[in-house]
Symmetry: C2
Subunit: 226 residues, 2 copies
Amino acid sequence: IIRTEKLTKVYDSGYRTVALQQVDLQIPKGSLSCIMGPSGHGKSTLLHLIGGLDRPSSGKVFLDDVELTAVTADRLTEIRARKLGFVFQFFNLLPVLTALENVQVAMMLAGISKREQEERAAELLKLVGLEDKLRARPNQLSGGQRQRVAIARALANDPEILLMDEPSGNLDSRSEAELLEQIGKVNAQGKTVVIVTHSEKVAEMAQQIIYIRDGQLVLGKEIKEQ
Amino acid sequence: IIRTEKLTKVYDSGYRTVALQQVDLQIPKGSLSCIMGPSGHGKSTLLHLIGGLDRPSSGKVFLDDVELTAVTADRLTEIRARKLGFVFQFFNLLPVLTALENVQVAMMLAGISKREQEERAAELLKLVGLEDKLRARPNQLSGGQRQRVAIARALANDPEILLMDEPSGNLDSRSEAELLEQIGKVNAQGKTVVIVTHSEKVAEMAQQIIYIRDGQLVLGKEIKEQ
Ligand SMILES: Nc1ncnc2c1ncn2[C@@H]1O[C@H](COP(=O)(O)OP(=O)(O)OP(=O)(O)O)[C@@H](O)[C@H]1O
Ligand SMILES: Nc1ncnc2c1ncn2[C@@H]1O[C@H](COP(=O)(O)OP(=O)(O)OP(=O)(O)O)[C@@H](O)[C@H]1O
Ligand SMILES: [Mg+2]
Ligand SMILES: [Mg+2]
């Protein structure tokens, strides 16, 4: 279970922007939630705070009763490595590594043998349709292929919680359907999934829609008016 | 009008991939075309070759009867600066420049005064809903905001031909609808528009759908079978 209390993020690097204000939400264990809302209104910011990749200006984030906003940086790194898989909106692949190596990197802290890492990475890349591209580097891959490497990497350490920022933004409808099938399986195994998305197809799978406008949580009935 | 003859692109940097083979197509002046097809099958490659941003392995590209594949690099740069606006799949914004400056850069070769550049850039950014972000740098912008800066930049030199690689991949449905409205207006002014897209909404506006699978042009009736 993921929980936030009065989560607030203000950027002030010469340009003051209130990206998130007073967000209170609950994500039950094993659920599939979608974060939706207009461009620039705080969705990626929220996902990064939930995943402990960034610190809020004020407010708290709880992951399985551990207050992420109160632990040390080392403890945070260890929790993320063990429990979280993150797909970034722009992938953040390492340009000098191959697709296979990019996926293996996510398994480094988990005590898996190098041989087993390679096998598992190859398996995951096959799952997302990239078996012919194992040794390709990101600049030799199409936009959607890079996105799929990022997805494979997020699944690599078999995380309890999968956080995905617009995972099908660069995928055609068939690749998106295949991805949704994979996500459905992962969720059926009991994993908690949170997806930022603009896609109606992805939203159809959600048990909960978290709607963010102007950095604030918008409740059910207000969405219909927009 | 844009025309290609037996357009072929093979990548061979240690990983041989036939990205495009023998593509023959025609894009009438003032039309709106969409390039669609599965992820990794050659759409971005095709758009880059049409826009003279890359050279084919064999075959020809004609832009208004000028053979892009035969002219000098300087002439190609001049044609692109005068006639083309390009939106990249991953934007290619300059990280050290603000949103305003990124849009102004596209006007540098067109002999427009600096003052006029600033006014026009501000106008275009306002058009895509970014009037509050003129002095923000790309790393201070959300994914969809960066995409919109890239779109404003492509419109900056008032190009005859607008080439866009998945321009709404990071936009919510409302921002996408606003973008489509803008594209409709640009097309109504007589500009030729070619859009790589996975979006059905964008495809609905097209007079021609160019379907690419496995690097080859797929004709109308074959699409329905997939
Ligand atoms: N520099 C390169 N070296 C080797 N192969 C490459 C290179 N660039 C692209 N490719 C390959 O060319 C093929 C076509 O890529 P392209 O980017 O045109 O696909 P796309 O249709 O735009 O895909 P997407 O919808 O995912 O963006 C892919 O298989 C890709 O791996
Ligand atoms: N480092 C930063 N400095 C200043 N402002 C920032 C910074 N990062 C993000 N912002 C601002 O915070 C707001 C929310 O950004 P965020 O990336 O969360 O939006 P988003 O909902 O994910 O948008 P999109 O759908 O376009 O990806 C935006 O107005 C953005 O300009
Ligand atoms: Mg975002
Ligand atoms: Mg592409």
